[in-house]
């Protein structure tokens, strides 16, 4: 029995306007067009691509099987009536030449891709991680790449940070902006290295320059860091750098390291000249934050908040970086092994490793027997 829906033949657009003639308002909801997946199984022989037509073609083995195409009689009366009123479809006719054109327009040099490399990525959701990496996505670490743990590099980092903060204090500039430049060039670092710090309790007056030229040069250089003033001239910078290079050439800067140590941390310098910076106070919160930030950047050591609260001098900050302020907790076995009260007792044994059955076999004298048996069997 043909279903009643067959009469509607909803796939025929000509019936869209005449739906009200056949379907009451209550049934109209059920008569709505179904999804394509469901319509594929409707056995409408009038449709050329219907299932029944495909079965017929398969049975006969040809594309034009004999017999009536629609065994159920084709279109209904009303369908035929409305199909006469509709103009013939021209869409399919218009599509065919386009396909032909596409085929003809294909490039002769086209080669199908064998791998995904180089192909445009399609189908993503326009999220950030779907796009290829851009320049803005490259990561640059705040601190130096290598974490310093030795006393010499840590002292150099602490000295450099102290000199820079002193300079910013003297220039009355924002202290934290010294972190804008992670590493200075060698001539600048040489001048910083030459500076000494007199522990008089004030950051702005503690710095002692080796000569006036170094003072002027450093003041000019650090004037450029942070908020840029009206640029006097780029020539002066060049002149300063030239002077600095002249200083180098003349050997005025003492303790010059080997030339092959350019890649070494702190340009090959081993330790600071004086340790006056260690007694600088870190009582001012702004100075303390700026100093610890710069020292953290140069040394690679992170300062947690509780430690930052404890630190009140530069010496304590260096001590923390060297691991003296929060030493790794000693293991209990090490502690007990040094306890003289326990060592004096003959009935107490302290082991620093887990005791296993092998140890028990050794104590009981079974180990020799086990090993002998294993050797006899060639297993040891």
């Amino acid at each position: 029995m043909r279903p009643s829906l067959r009469l509607l033949n909803l796939e025929v657009p000509s019936l869209q306007g005449s739906r009200a003639l056949y379907v009451c308002s209550g049934c109209r909801q059920e008569a709505r067009p179904r999804p394509i997946a469901a319509r594929q199984f409707l056995r409408h022989a009038s449709n050329a691509d219907s299932l029944s037509e495909r079965v017929r073609r398969k049975i006969w083995g040809t594309d034009n099987p004999p017999g009536e195409k629609d065994p159920y009689g084709g279109q209904g009366v009303l369908e035929r009536k409305f199909s006469k009123q509709q103009p013939p479809k021209q869409e399919e006719v218009a599509e065919q030449p386009e396909e032909v054109e596409d085929l003809t327009l294909t490039d002769a040099s086209y080669e199908p891709a064998t791998t995904w490399a180089g192909l445009e990525r399609v189908g993503h959701l326009n999220r950030w991680n779907d796009y290829p990496r851009s320049e803005a996505d490259t990561y640059e670490s705040f601190a130096v790449k290598t974490k310093h743990n030795q006393k010499g590099p840590l002292s150099l980092a602490a000295h450099q940070a102290a000199v820079e903060i002193c300079l910013m204090h003297a220039l009355n500039k924002p202290l934290v902006s010294v972190c804008d430049v992670t590493e200075h060039e060698k001539p600048i670092f040489d001048m910083i290295y030459e500076c000494k710090i007199q522990p008089n309790g004030e950051w702005s007056k503690a710095l002692e320059y080796p000569n006036k030229r170094t003072q002027d040069t450093l003041a000019y250089i650090f004037e450029q860091i942070g908020a840029q003033p009206a640029a006097p001239a780029a020539e002066e910078t060049a002149e300063d750098l030239v002077e600095a290079s002249e200083l180098e050439e003349n050997g005025e800067i003492a303790d010059e390291p080997a030339s092959d140590s350019q890649d070494a941390p702190f340009f090959g310098y081993q330790d600071v000249q004086d340790e006056g910076f260690l007694s600088l106070p870190l009582t001012d919160a702004v100075t303390k934050f700026a100093y610890l930030k710069r020292f953290s950047q140069l040394s690679g050591h992170y300062f947690p908040d509780p430690i930052m609260q404890q630190i009140s001098t530069v010496k304590q900050a260096v001590a923390y970086a060297q691991g003296e302020l929060n030493k790794k907790p000693k293991k209990l076995a090490e502690y007990l092994a040094e306890d003289q009260r326990l060592l004096s007792l003959p009935n107490v044994k302290i082991f620093d490793k887990r005791r296993t059955t092998l140890h028990r076999d050794d104590e009981m004298g079974r180990k020799k027997i086990i090993e002998a048996a294993l050797r006899a069997r060639g297993l040891l």
Binding site: L332, Y335, L345, N347, K349, F351, D352, K353, R354, R355
Partner: protein, 137 residues
């Protein structure tokens, strides 16, 4: 005159002539990392020497047992072992557990249902059907 052995008048009882502590060894295991060993570590740091000094007949062994809860293992004269887990216990509680193992006999725990228990033979002896008065059926 032939040598005669001394006739035993009483079987040996621990504690009658001498008392031998049945616990011969105590193993203290701890973990350096885990928080459940916090009390155990404190006990070993501050109280172990007093316990060991008070019990010289017990061999005390301290060894780590990484990533495991702390335990006290008692080895007894009868060859049995008793293990007590002391995770998350305070040092004083651990001291009580160590004392418990120290005073244990090493035997399995038994439920006491009679008011009096004794290892002596019964005065009345074992009942026999061939002795005593026969009752007629």
């Amino acid at each position: 005159m032939p040598i005669q052995g001394i006739r035993t008048v009483a079987s040996a009882r621990n504690g009658v002539g001498a008392f031998i502590l049945q616990c011969k060894q105590l193993d203290f295991h701890y973990c350096d990392w885990a928080g459940s060993s916090r009390g155990m570590v404190a006990y070993l740091r501050h109280h172990l020497h007093a316990f060991a000094k008070a019990n010289p007949q017990i061999e005390i062994r301290v060894s780590p047992r990484p990533n495991k809860h702390p335990v006290i293992r008692g080895v007894f004269v009868n060859g049995r072992e008793k293990v007590i887990c002391v995770r998350n216990l305070e040092p004083e509680q651990i001291g009580k557990k160590a004392n418990l193992l120290r005073e244990a006999s090493g035997e399995k725990l038994k439920r006491t249902t009679k008011p009096v228990t004794s290892i002596n033979e019964s005065v009345r002896g074992i009942w026999s059907p061939y002795h005593g008065g026969l009752n007629g059926v």
